[in-house]
């Protein structure tokens, strides 16, 4: 297992930054918090994490303003060179707004803020993120969002399925598909075509120890050090 230098972004309104620090430290990695005004990422960055929260109060659309923060230019350049980037929840929304990931996240179908444990089915594990999981495996991870309703047109979606870009789908305990927020084909997480930018609505950093309900998040985040 490699020790990674993980750069974790902070925007005004980010609130999962310290949980994310805790999660990666627990896995033995070095973490650096990077304020959104920074124009550069720490030099030795092995992974950028855009954590969850409510950047800029979710004004206009979730993630739409954060995506223009100075640090995002550096993240775009980093991703363009093949650097690994993970967006969790609001981080996922920011990455779609920045066009680093395809599609968009709309208001949940039932208009509720959904906060609870949710089962997820691993779809593609052949990537730098979920390589410690197996396709078909069911995970149990907290979700907490109002805008998690993933949308993309059918043509692009078929393309993503073919390329192995669908990472996770919402399901029940038995692994049967489950409508949670209205996402097309129950999608909970995706990656880009090059498989170096990852986004998911569920919070693996909140599932790091069984005493708190689940440690499935560990196995997910561990992937990066085995990639």
């Amino acid at each position: 297992m490699k020790t990674l230098n993980v750069s974790i972004l902070q925007f005004p309104g980010t609130n999962c930054d310290l949980d994310t620090v805790y999660a990666f430290k627990r896995l033995g990695h070095e973490t650096t918090l990077v304020w959104h005004k920074e124009e550069k990422l720490p030099e030795k960055t092995d992974l950028v994490v855009v954590p969850g929260g409510f950047s800029y109060g979710d004004y206009l659309r979730s993630g739409s303003i954060a995506r223009f923060s100075p640090v995002m230019k550096a993240v775009q350049a980093y991703a363009g060179e093949g650097g690994k980037v993970l967006g969790i929840c609001n981080g996922f929304q920011i990455l779609t707004e920045a066009h680093l990931l395809p599609g968009a996240l709309k208001r949940n179908n039932n208009l509720h803020f959904i906060s609870r444990y949710q089962h997820l089915k691993v779809v593609s594990a052949d990537n730098a993120f979920l390589n410690r999981c197996s396709p078909g495996e069911v995970l149990h991870i907290p979700i907490a969002h109002a805008d998690g309703n993933y949308f993309i047109d059918d043509e692009q979606l078929d393309d993503m399925e073919k390329n192995g870009q669908i990472l996770l789908r919402y399901c029940d305990e038995a692994g049967e598909p489950m409508v949670v927020n209205g996402s097309v084909r129950q999608i909970a997480g995706i990656c880009n075509r090059e498989k170096n930018v990852f986004g998911l609505m569920p919070h693996p950093e909140r599932a790091m120890e069984s005493i708190l309900g689940s440690e499935d998040g560990q196995r997910m985040l561990e992937g990066f050090s085995h990639a």
Binding site: L60, S64, I65, T96, K106, N108, L111, N149, F151
Partner: protein, 80 residues
């Protein structure tokens, strides 16, 4: 000069807020409503006085920030 940018979900993209309001109107007895779509109205006060230039700039604003063109359409009105 005053400009108004209206942003709404594209045709074919389900609008959950519109659907909820449609349902609520129905239960209040307004049976004549066939569809409800909810959007945002962004009202801008511009320094620019040239209408053509303003329109060009407003389009850029809409494309880069005000609308997410993956799921939203927009229209621009310039008040005289």
């Amino acid at each position: 000069m005053k400009a108004i940018v209206n942003v709404y979900l594209k045709e074919g993209v389900l609008d959950p807020q519109g659907k909820a309001v449609h349902h609520a109107l129905g239960s209040l007895g307004f049976d004549n409503v066939e569809d409800v779509r909810i959007g945002k109205q962004i009202v801008l006060e511009l320094k620019e006085n040239d209408k053509t230039k303003a329109m060009e700039e407003l389009k850029q604003m809409a494309e880069t920030l005000l609308a997410n063109t993956v799921i939203e359409d927009y229209d621009i009105e310039i008040a005289e």
